[in-house]
């Protein structure tokens, strides 16, 4: 737990503002956004030096407002000052702009690429809102939210075999686009399992995904970008409110 926290802090360059101006690649964002985590994972995988410009909670910086005037949301990638927004668009951009750096995040076959894009779109359709409800951050039926996540995981269990062909990741031998799209939600999936006291990634129901989840989270580029589940739970307790006292005390 402590180890992950230290690694996560160490590799983030929280530079002074003068140095920030010279960095070629900057990420505007803040943990624990899974969308920011995606960008940090892909930059780590590609070995791209970068710095994280941490956005304060509830207080958007001038730089963010100027870089993403349309949505005013994180993450934003600044590459030589040019902004790219939307996490999956950023991931594809990094894959394409650093195509010479292995691994390729999307397969070369157009059909396989379309399949990964389809499932990544599906992930963002099914997970974010349901997780917010389960965190207590959004009003909603928690049972329904849990059922939605479980149903989505069932479909993704099948997709895992189709995309990865029985190998370690959706991307096959290496972490790929869809691994990042789904995997970036794992911090919160595991956190809400504790917070809401439910099983989502049930090894009995989705054995391949359960094994993949452990493997993914243990990958160096991921461990570096996505802190341990305890930190997600801590964050939620502090910020999301309306949690049962029992959950807070027993862990």
């Amino acid at each position: 737990m402590q180890k992950h926290h230290t690694i996560w802090k160490k590799n983030r360059q929280n530079m002074s503002s003068e140095k920030q101006e010279t960095a070629a690649v900057r990420v505007l964002g803040r943990w624990p956004s899974p969308f920011v985590i995606r960008v940090l994972i892909v930059l780590g995988l590609k070995g791209v030096d970068h710095e994280l410009v941490e956005e304060a909670v509830g207080n958007k910086s001038e730089l963010l407002l100027a870089s993403n005037p349309v949505h005013k949301m994180i993450p934003v990638l600044l590459h030589h000052g040019r902004p790219i927004s939307e996490s999956l668009i950023i991931v594809q951009y990094v894959d394409e702009a650093w195509a010479s750096h292995a691994p390729a995040l999307l397969p070369s076959d157009p059909y396989a690429r379309a399949a990964e894009r389809f499932w990544a779109h599906y992930v963002d359709d099914k997970f974010p809102t349901a997780i917010r409800v389960l965190r207590g951050r959004l009003d909603g039926d928690k049972d329904e939210a849990a059922a939605q996540v479980c149903a989505a995981l069932q479909r993704l269990e099948v997709a895992f075999v189709e995309c990865g062909q029985g190998k370690d990741y959706f991307g096959g031998d290496n972490v790929g686009y869809l691994d990042i799209a789904l995997g970036s939600h794992l911090g919160w999936v595991r956190a809400v399992e504790r917070i809401a006291e439910i099983r989502l990634l049930d090894a009995a129901k989705v054995p391949k995904l359960a094994a993949w989840a452990d493997r993914f989270c243990a990958h160096p580029a991921v461990a570096d970008a996505m802190p341990d589940v305890d930190r997600f739970v801590e964050f939620s307790l502090k910020n999301d409110g309306a949690l049962k006292a029992a959950s807070a005390n027993s862990k």
Binding site: I84, S85, A97, P110, Y111, R113, A114, R117, F118, Y122
Partner: protein, 257 residues
């Protein structure tokens, strides 16, 4: 010609020269360990009045790819559609040599990659690609959500939703600045994705009595509408205006009932 194209029964599009298919990339496809026994060729499951389905047709025609169009009755979807897209069950679905792809924007990128030696749909530069994808997302997520209320609202409420729709479209319009098309000198991905506005928005305006895309408020977009509708592959595919108008009038009445 459009009458023949848009009969509800399955249509074979014959006047396109089928683009030579890259057998190799499909031979080596990991998915099924080789070519399937399923049908060869390109099929589009769509619906004649669907703006999402027409994107797929535009992309295929830009590439000069022949396809079979299956016009679905959305109130009674075919077994084939449900088999090809069990996850969302929606149109459009592209079936290429028996392999289905769903989600119109994903299909358009697939078409660009599967027939990569044809007309370039996506920009070449990674930054331009990211911008095109960003605006496509913005249009589908924000602009469409802003446009729909215009269709149903009336009176003072309509004035408000029109202003909101205009705000959204003005933001999108920035991507047109200094260019003939969103794609530059020629149509590209973003034109294919938002091009439906050029035909459908005037119909929505007529049905709802609202003025959204005007010379005063959205001059660049208005001008682009004219240019886009003049493009050959667009002209050839548009559904008949009177039929589309009638359908949307009926839908509006249904929704207001």
């Amino acid at each position: 010609p459009w009458k023949a194209m848009h009969d509800p029964a399955t249509q074979i599009w014959t006047s396109f020269i089928a683009h030579e298919q890259k057998r190799d990339q499909h031979q080596s496809s990991k998915q099924h360990g080789g070519p399937t026994m399923a049908e060869k060729g390109v099929k589009v499951f769509g619906m004649w009045a669907s703006p999402m389905a027409i994107r797929v047709e535009w992309a295929l025609r830009l590439k000069g790819v022949g396809y079979e169009y299956v016009d679905e009755d959305l109130a009674s979807k075919s077994d084939a559609l449900l088999r090809h897209n069990p996850v969302t069950k929606k149109v459009p679905v592209l079936v290429h040599d028996g392999k289905p792809i769903a989600e119109s924007t994903i299909i358009v990128e697939y078409i660009d990659e599967a027939w990569k030696d044809g007309y370039p749909i996506m920009p070449a530069d990674p930054y331009d690609r990211a911008q095109a994808r960003f605006w496509a997302r913005f249009a589908d997520d924000k602009c469409n959500a802003a446009i729909f209320p215009v269709f149903t609202a009336t009176g003072e409420a309509q004035r408000e939703v029109v202003r909101e729709a205009q705000r959204c479209l003005k933001t999108l319009e920035k991507a047109l600045e200094g260019k003939k098309f969103f794609g530059g000198d020629a149509v590209g991905y973003l034109d294919v994705v938002v091009g439906w506005y050029a035909y459908w928005l005037p119909i929505i305006e007529e049905v709802s009595g609202a003025d959204v895309v005007t010379d005063e408020e959205l001059p660049l977009m208005k001008a682009w509408f004219g240019r886009f509708l003049a493009v050959d592959v667009v002209k050839e595919t548009l559904p008949p205006r009177d039929k589309l108008l009638a359908l949307n009038k009926a839908r509006r009445e249904q929704l207001s009932a």
